[in-house]
Symmetry: C2
Subunit: 273 residues, 2 copies
């Protein structure tokens, strides 16, 4: 098969399988081509991805070796996206009672959600993550987007157990903002002991919900390998109970009475190279 | 820029933007190449996608023309995937009380969910869909996967209104299986009147939940442009109240007492060419 045709098919195949080891012999057989030609193809793909700042191919040597597509946005590539997002979020029309923000339109756009997911994946890709966890409902699309780029499963905690999931483990936690005691449950078979888990959520104020997920992970003897939130906001009443997290944006001075809001990039951009 | 490099970048760019019109001049400028070369590149990409049975490029002529990547799995490409899924679902360990099935592991795997999404998109891509709708929680990842391949937003109905979404419209519906009256709400600003909406859910027995979504769409003066479910199951008590739908799999004779289950491909495969 000609190089031009191979490059199209290989690029498609690789992009659909981030963080997945693909062996050179597999490609060689698939395209009926010499391994040396495949190797050259992969160099071209790697160079293009690096130049664009959207990722790279990691080579794994040895008999069981091959390549892995690593999602990695560069700071240059990511900055305009985050700035645009901050501008969108700064619209005072988004202000809802209690300092909350309407974000359903942003969370409802698959392309935006996918880009956000790849940003978080770029930061967490080195942390040997086994699963991405979130709590229903708003964080679900973000969690899937991150998990897709890390090639790991998603586990979803719920605030109410559902009959169709089998037996569950539940914990109680204190919601940071309202100081109410709440319940969070996770299906028993959804997570193995020892798993390294990345927690993803859409919004964090004092961090009570994220703390709830941390407690739940403890029950499963799983480890917190990273925490990512789309938007962090100040809580006037409570101090934040979660400290080591990555945020894409931070909401400052949101007030629905005075119709004021300020949104700035979070600490994620500084972690991209 | 050399053709080989262009092909990698163009394939990536196109794949990240299904159902999105991309103009030839945009590519020509981006890669500092003649429009005739870009045109040849696109022909190569189109041919590869068609040969693999995973989609094609639609050419739109005229001054505002360009190409659109249309996701379209061929029947040949889709059949092994659906058969494998049926086999996975046939595991009697999945049986839960009440004829339900444990599917969280399948719905938790982003690559599987993405493939399912592309299958539904292949069927619905000609229906001029403006949005994909589901009801929280299980259907959310599937809805996003379908929406991503159709390049449209997702709207999520809930069984309980949430403070952070603003004002809502609610309806009551009868759950087909349990005959209970339930409530479903959708945020007012999430859907425009006249929208053509594709309903996606993970599971359908009598179809009460889907009927609830249909009622909700009526309140928004929106139109049902398609209905897709991952698994349809028989309901011994109730006749199905929804008739025009696409299913990926059908569950026959699920019984957790006798530990029996049979899963077959649904009607989706017959709609692929």
């Amino acid at each position: 098969m000609k190089r031009s045709k191979r490059l199209v098919s290989m690029t498609r195949f690789i992009m659909e399988r981030p963080c997945t080891l693909i062996s050179l012999p597999f490609f060689a057989e698939q395209f009926d081509s010499a391994k040396s030609s495949i190797s050259e193809d992969l160099t071209i793909i790697d160079e293009r991805f690096r130049q664009e700042g959207t990722g790279y191919l990691e080579s794994i040597a040895g008999a069981s070796g091959g390549v892995k597509y690593i999602p990695a946005y560069s700071k240059d590539y990511g900055t305009p996206f985050v700035e645009q997002l901050c501008e969108k979020l700064s619209d005072t029309e988004r202000l809802l009672p209690g300092g909350y923000l309407f974000m359903s339109d942003i969370l409802g756009d698959p392309h935006t959600v996918d880009t956000i997911g790849k940003m978080f994946a770029s930061v967490f890709v080195d942390r040997e993550i086994d699963a991405v966890m979130t709590v229903a409902t708003k964080g679900i699309p973000l969690a899937y987007a991150v998990a897709a780029h890390l090639n790991v499963p998603v586990v979803i905690a719920r605030r109410d157990p559902k009959v169709t999931e089998g037996s569950t483990v539940s914990i109680n936690y204190v919601s940071g903002s309202t100081r109410k005691i709440q319940t969070m449950v996770l299906t028993k078979r959804s997570l193995e002991a020892g798993s390294r888990v990345c927690i993803i959520d859409d919004f964090m104020k004092a961090g009570g919900t994220i703390n709830g997920m941390k407690s739940l992970l403890k029950e499963f003897e799983a480890e917190v390998a990273g925490i990512g939130v789309l938007a962090e906001a100040e809580d006037e009443e409570e101090e934040r109970v979660v400290d080591d997290y990555v945020s894409l944006t931070q909401i400052l001075h949101a007030d629905d009475r005075t119709k004021k809001i300020e949104v700035e990039p979070g600490n994620l951009l500084n972690r991209l190279s």
